[in-house]
Symmetry: D2
Subunit: 330 residues, 4 copies
């Protein structure tokens, strides 16, 4: 259940305030030059604390390669990547344990796991687990050298001017949501299947594993619902299938068509707002006012682009391998 | 690849103008009272030709149960459901075969299958395959008697007044898109997994298998990106996890929280618009003006609700069985 | 659960005395020339009634291709193959329904499906379902033109002289078991995975789906347990990995080594012996003497070779596709 | 590919002389009391060096629980178990690298991974990876308190008197094979599926992942091929399905029948015999005489019982969870 992918498959594990988080990557072709250095740039992008609106929690986020690499290259055996959790302040969480935090997984985790869940810092639900995702994504990107995946925040709090959007939240002393767009170029046509495993299905599946995502749209997306057919249809211009417009966002009938892949996701405001909230107290069984402690991002959308790129890379490399577009030995 | 589900799994097959379409349903508990009559109401809803804006093609759409039912009950063995294709006019398609239809899968199918695809009426990509989905969905619904799944068109062409939206398209002699919303009540908490197999992931995966879907959003969805945390967070009101508001749409941290599940999808305008289009002619290698022949829906969103309900039911029954909420013998 | 294969996957359905049996084959490359004629020779081999010791039940066993083939070639979409059940005499089974037949699935099916199983002729447990397997195997064989798969009965009732073995059973008016050996030549090295998905694992998995199989051994098999290392080790003779002996049976470390693949299976005697038996009567709750009615094989091992070849072909084609040894478009 | 199980699933990783080996266990119910102490007894049984005929290599084999356990109980999140490799003498292997060792995976690994494999000590193919299997098996056993799984060596070198069998090999200065039998009591009926996922299929699948296994037989196994039906059939004695004899080994029609589950495996002689061998030298391309260095078991069958128990436990717990016989919260 904590796995994704049919040939290039990943298995995620760990807890925010446990000993470690990490990922096992299976199905990676042998012979790929790989070291921690290949993952550090994307891991650096994922870190908070570097920009306004992100958490001051600072982890080394150093990827320890525990298996699958020998003499500087992948061996074809599973690659295990570990991240140690060092910078932990669980006491913040113990104090407010009586309130299942609204917008967080506290309540559902409690129900699903019968109270046995590791609740500290969100436990297994924490965005900290996306370190493994980002590390695996960096490997997937290396396997597709001709494919460029680029994600960026396009809106914060409804504002295309991100600084304005963020400042509004800072002024309101509240957290805020945003939009992240992902564009992929150099992708071959023919990826995806007509039923159940459409390219959109596979991408959406993994994208909704990213915490805080509430929506995804491909190409014209929700705007397509307002359009006429002649507006929306992308005229085909040549025998390779290049289209004049790209309302489809690069996928038709569930299959990539060789044009730019474009999709957007909606990220909800960080659940841990600094503002006072009114919600259930588990101890009293009553709703009460309380405030969230701990170190949190004001706008998690700001940290989402590199995570979205990684998720996209994992979806695409598996689609590529299903379609035999990546060799088993590099 | 044409399969969905881990315990309750379905395998779809067939082509629009081939001999038949159908579905194999595996993992259905034994002892469920089942006959064709259980599927007919939803299949009737799926049919076109009954309302303005839908295709005049009329199939009997009669579900032939070929295996898995004995003495009026499911046996625990795979259930096979067949639909014969009788009302076929392939000649329409042969005539326009020189133009890969914009917005259709003609071009990607040709690339993916090397020209061997059955192109008649969209072949395996046709929305006709959703008959099997609807039949399987009807069975899934029967297995969850306390769960109500209801989908409805909420917008056509951007208009909440559906008649106005549709008339605009009829007047423009063009096809048009729409929004369909799905609401599920009576769903237990605890369905879904924190990573990769979140409830949103599983639902989105199958929903993007429905032809023409370009986006999906849960709860506040894309609007969440514009909100502050204190606006978006749903205060918890009691020990069962009932929330005051439902911006989450019934899913937090990837897990259902027992509140109403709400999501919306965007349906693009039917690719087969009656209007003249300019696009590639495969024979000349040039773009040319041409018109689509054949019988088509003006607004496929109108037929989508029952299909969306079926897809949702298939996602939910599998989540329920993974969580052991449905017995293996009814 | 009634599915096998990760890329080339099959989904089996039907009951012995239901309307039909069949199989859906997904992941077959597009462009393969295919018609019923390609399946008939193996289906003919599978039939009983042609030789001493096999059931007199005669089915047309005619494969109806219901999807996935267009203009005489596979399309890349799922291939559905149907066999109608015409020659049914269920009355034989109704009469003896009070006795769950020893060695048959009657009792376990009753326990597992709560009495809702289709018990006629073994229902979904019947060897009649192997028609679909054989049809799918014929397709898999066509996809590996350089690979030859050949199975043959090597022992009946412990006798290498099959006629003697069979005559002993006929004289005893009893059913009898046998050994079937399978040899595969032309198989490339590198198929299979070191853990969990070893080539032996994948082959054994599907082989134990064949009714009546009680054991499997690769290469020297059970004899290996009696050998010294210097006897058993196969010296490597050249850079391609050809070995001097073949005690490994063509698989080392879970991976094919390019030498002949050899394995044997043990087939138990047909459970439906014509002799009187003493076993539980469901109605009285007591053990009693009774006799099995119906038409049955005296030695099912005689019909097993073509089924074993088919199962082997399905395992190998999927291993080949996982290793990218078969193109997605033929 | 390095994964096993559908609900209770394990993912194995590591190399013999790499930094570590380990396993990720997903789908374990929450609330199970678990600490390293639960795994130590079985890990101790797996260790070599304690008895005649096993390798003098001594690892601490201490299971480091890296995730999934909190306050002494499982949380429902993936459990990661690490074993550090400390006691490594890779120099032995470097010296003999010019000879792909007969009976070992050296040659197939080289072919499959293009020379990028970690060849030291067998790398990812090493029996050292079974530490993870044994740890996971110990957890699976804890989840089935009423089920007892017991495996034992029943033959060495064809001798039922194990001391004689082993002494013959010691005298011959050669390695030797053996038979291991596994018996399971307390198992419920109804586990397994009629097609493809028969109980035998699932068990055989994982058993062939154990290094050196060349055959498996259930119940009467290969002896069944020599029997008449009236000899082999197990008469049913009561309404619960208890049988008078147990030639079936506890599985009929692919489904457990509630009687004792019995099966045997054949283990080939350790490939690393101390005797001189003649085989290919990669450097010269010629066959030459050479001897294997390194520390090895004379008879790996002696260490196999606890590994076989673990593999069996993993197969059974997944079958139990598929059949909803184990709760998601303990």
């Amino acid at each position: 259940m904590n796995s994704f992918g049919r040939i290039f498959s990943v298995h995620i594990f760990g807890e925010s305030h446990g000993e470690s988080v990490g990922i096992v990557i299976d199905g990676c072709p042998a012979g790929l030059v790989l070291s921690d250095a290949d993952m550090l740039p994307d891991l650096e992008r994922r870190k908070g604390g570097k920009q306004k609106g992100t958490t001051p929690r600072q982890e080394a986020d150093y990827p320890l390669i525990k298996s699958g690499v020998f003499n500087g290259k992948t061996t074809g055996a599973p690659i295990t990547i570990f991240f140690e959790n060092n910078n932990i302040r669980s006491s913040d969480y113990e104090k407010q344990r009586s309130f299942p935090r609204p917008g967080h997984a506290d309540m559902v985790a409690h129900q699903k796991y019968g109270g046995h869940e590791d609740y500290r810092g969100g436990g297994h639900f924490s965005a900290r687990l996306t370190t493994g995702l980002v590390a695996a994504g960096a490997i997937a990107k290396k396997l597709m050298p001709g494919v460029s995946i680029h994600a960026a925040v396009t809106e914060i709090g409804g504002e295309a001017d991100l600084d304005i959007g963020l400042q509004r939240a800072i002024d309101a002393k509240d957290s805020v949501g945003g939009i992240v767009e992902c564009r992929v170029n150099g992708l071959p046509a023919s990826l995806g299947e007509p039923f159940f495993d459409s390219a959109e299905s596979i991408i959406a599946h993994i994208v909704f594993a990213i915490p805080a995502v509430k929506g995804i749209e491909f190409g014209s997306g929700f705007a397509a619902s307002k359009m006429f057919g002649t507006e929306h249809n992308d005229a085909i211009e040549n025998m390779e299938g290049r289209t004049r417009t790209n309302h489809a966002g690069g996928i038709v009938g569930g299959i990539t068509n060789g044009n730019e892949l474009i999709f957007r996701i909606s990220i909800k405001p960080t659940a841990s707002t600094p503002k006072e909230q009114n919600s259930l107290n588990w101890e009293t069984g009553q709703t009460e006012d309380f405030s969230i402690k701990g170190r949190h991002d004001l706008c998690v959308a700001l940290r989402a682009p590199v995570i979205l790129e990684a998720a996209t890379a994992l979806a695409l490399i598996d689609l590529m391998m299903m379609e035999q577009r990546v060799r088993r030995i590099v």
